[in-house]
């Protein structure tokens, strides 16, 4: 107390102003989130009905249903992960276990960072030009999925690489000392030990896919038809939940539907973040 009194007025003002600013900013950030989530839930949850969730939209009956969008989101997540996961994990393994050329490693890492920085609208355009037009996939879930594969590669590579780095060198030396080949060591020691990091990468990627709209608008399109077969589903245009939100709100002015979808997306984000946290915690415990 005595010490405080000794300080000059200027210092005391400085102290209290900045202290207030720090607390106010943190409060503002948290309040923003609470208001955002609260507002979306209040406006959205009353409009989540069975009809909305479990039917396809019908022009004849004049009803709106988002079942096709839910299915499309699910399909595109599965497709994207099946392709991107092996490539991304493979790239991370290459960078940490195989590559010896420092320059090459830094070039690959620079490329990965560059990919992470490219905005999704550009992915959408290139996806449209390359997958939809050049490879002839048309505007379809397949084009959209392929575009997303490139987009989530950096996420998977980075999280996998981080967890590979936490595998102790003694594991590698032990395996190689017992006569294991490199691939055998990676298959039986390295990959299982870094499983949690890979899982975290998957969850983060799912979050990105669920929230993505700009990259999908021109590649996967906005279709809302439920197809019987997998092949037909992937060769047709299909809008995910985020794209559907944009279409219903901007093109048709259906704000209630928009808020219902937003509430569903928020719930998914909450689950995804919780999952990533859990996986991350397990990773830390082990390391």
């Amino acid at each position: 107390m005595i010490e405080t009194e000794k300080r000059s007025l200027k210092r005391r003002v400085y102290e209290s102003v900045f202290k207030t600013l720090v607390y106010a900013s943190a409060l503002l950030t948290v309040a923003l989130l609470v208001v955002l989530i609260g507002y979306v839930f209040v406006r959205g949850i009353p409009h989540i009905t069975a009809q909305l969730l479990f039917t396809a939209p019908s022009a004849i009956k004049d009803t709106i249903g988002i079942l096709p969008n839910i299915l499309n989101t699910l399909y595109i997540i599965i497709f994207t992960l099946i392709i991107a996961l092996p490539i991304g994990v493979g790239a991370a393994v290459y960078l940490t276990e195989y590559a010896t050329n420092r320059r090459l490693i830094s070039v690959v890492e620079f490329a990965t960072e560059t990919l992470a920085g490219i905005p999704s609208i550009i992915y959408g355009l290139v996806g449209m030009l390359f997958f939809a037009q050049m490879l002839g996939f048309k505007t379809s879930l397949l084009s959209g999925g392929c575009t997303l594969v490139i987009m989530i590669l950096p996420t998977i590579i980075r999280t996998t690489q981080e967890s590979l780095k936490t595998v102790p060198a003694s594991y590698r030396e032990g395996a190689l000392g017992l006569g294991a080949t490199k691939w055998y060591m990676i298959r039986t020691i390295i990959l299982p030990s870094s499983l949690n990091g890979i899982v975290t990468g998957c969850i983060l990627s799912i979050g990105r896919i669920v929230g993505e709209s700009a990259a999908l608008l021109f590649t996967a399109g906005v279709g809302t038809v439920v197809s019987g077969s997998i092949i037909r589903t992937f060769s047709r245009s299909g809008g995910t939940l985020s794209v559907a939100l944009y279409m219903y709100v901007s093109e048709r002015g259906e704000f209630d539907v928009g808020f219902a979808i937003a509430a569903i997306l928020m719930i998914l984000v909450l689950i995804i973040n919780g999952g990533a946290k859990l996986a991350g915690k397990k990773l830390k415990n082990k390391a």
Partner: protein
């Protein structure tokens, strides 16, 4: 087999057994060497597979760059570089179409600057709170909140901006139409908060304890130490966070499209404006001919902006590493 053995003399059997053993050994040796060849083959194949995976990121960057340049250059050539970059009028569907994208470039620049101006102070101070002020229990509540903000899809930000911010703009500033640059700036400021907070927090945490202890020992208060020692020491990390935020803001399309009004005006806080991203997204679905090519040219300009920002980010981070 028994019959044969009986007929043969004893020595023959011994010889034959020896022969068989030899053959067995030989066989084993061949299987072993075959297994080794197989194993080496698998090793080689896997080596190649992993190499291919590693090269995928480079291929993707080359593909994207290639497509952007090839698709974007023709229209710029046709319209003329100065006409395209510094033309102040965009009327792509008019009888005498004009393709000047200066309004889009300036809107993107001003929009990003505005978002940084609001987002950086709030973000940096929140990072200070998380890294230096908050108790572990409080930080354990605030940090997940920041992560959640990062996870909210941009269309949800757009929807809320459209339903809350835009009407609020109309009321507060007496506008006929609430869709304006200011609304977009506010949405962008919120959207870039998480990147700025998490990168700055990491940087602040990396400041050596001795720096702060020395400052405290000299009689500085905790707040003085944070603002006069910790933040300057964490400068390069904080700058990296800001640059990351710039990249996010300039590349955001959907949220901005829902609140900015999408009219090709020169930027003004209360005017409906079009960003580089939204110019592309808005017209892409129905454009054709030169208009469509011009959209790819806009994307190329955006891509160049992003590449410059990426290079800057890399430079700042490298410099930071050396500094440490």
């Amino acid at each position: 087999m028994d019959m044969e053995q009986v007929k043969k003399p004893l020595g023959g059997t011994v010889l034959q057994t020896a022969h068989e053993t030899q053959e067995k050994v030989n066989n084993e040796a061949t299987t072993r060497s075959m297994r080794k060849i197989l194993r080496d083959g698998v090793e080689k194949v896997m080596n190649g597979v992993f190499f291919a995976c590693g090269m995928m990121a480079i291929m993707a960057v080359l593909l994207i760059t290639g497509y952007m340049v090839v698709a974007g250059l023709p229209a710029i050539g046709e319209i003329g570089v100065t006409e395209f970059l510094f033309g102040t009028q965009w009327a792509s569907t008019a009888a005498e179409p004009k393709f000047g994208i200066l309004p889009f470039i300036l809107t993107s620049v001003w929009g990003t600057l505005g978002a940084i101006l609001i987002g950086v102070p709030v973000g940096l101070l929140t990072a200070v709170f998380l890294a230096k002020v908050a108790s572990p229990e409080v930080a354990a509540v605030v940090r997940p909140a920041v992560e959640l903000l990062a996870g909210i899809p941009s269309v949800v930000y757009g929807l809320i901006g459209m339903m809350v911010l835009v009407p609020a703009m109309m009321d507060i500033f007496n506008l006929n139409n609430g869709t304006c640059l200011l609304a977009a700036i506010l949405v962008l400021a919120i959207m870039i908060l998480p990147s700025i907070i998490s990168v700055s927090e990491t940087a602040l945490r990396a400041v050596p304890r001795e720096y702060e202890e020395a400052s405290l020992a000299l009689g500085a208060t905790k707040i003085e130490t944070i603002f006069k020692v910790s933040i300057p020491a964490a400068k390069s990390g904080i700058v990296a966070g800001v640059v990351l935020g710039v990249g996010r803001a300039i590349g955001e399309a959907m949220a901005v499209m829902m609140v900015a009004g999408n009219v090709a005006n020169m930027p003004g806080l209360f005017k409906s404006v079009t960003f580089l991203t939204t110019a592309v997204a808005k017209e892409m679905s129905y454009a054709s001919g030169l208009q469509r090519q011009a959209l790819f040219s806009i994307a190329l300009v955006l891509f160049i902006f992003i590449m410059i920002i990426n290079a800057l980010l890399n430079f700042v981070l490298k410099k930071g590493d050396k500094h440490d």
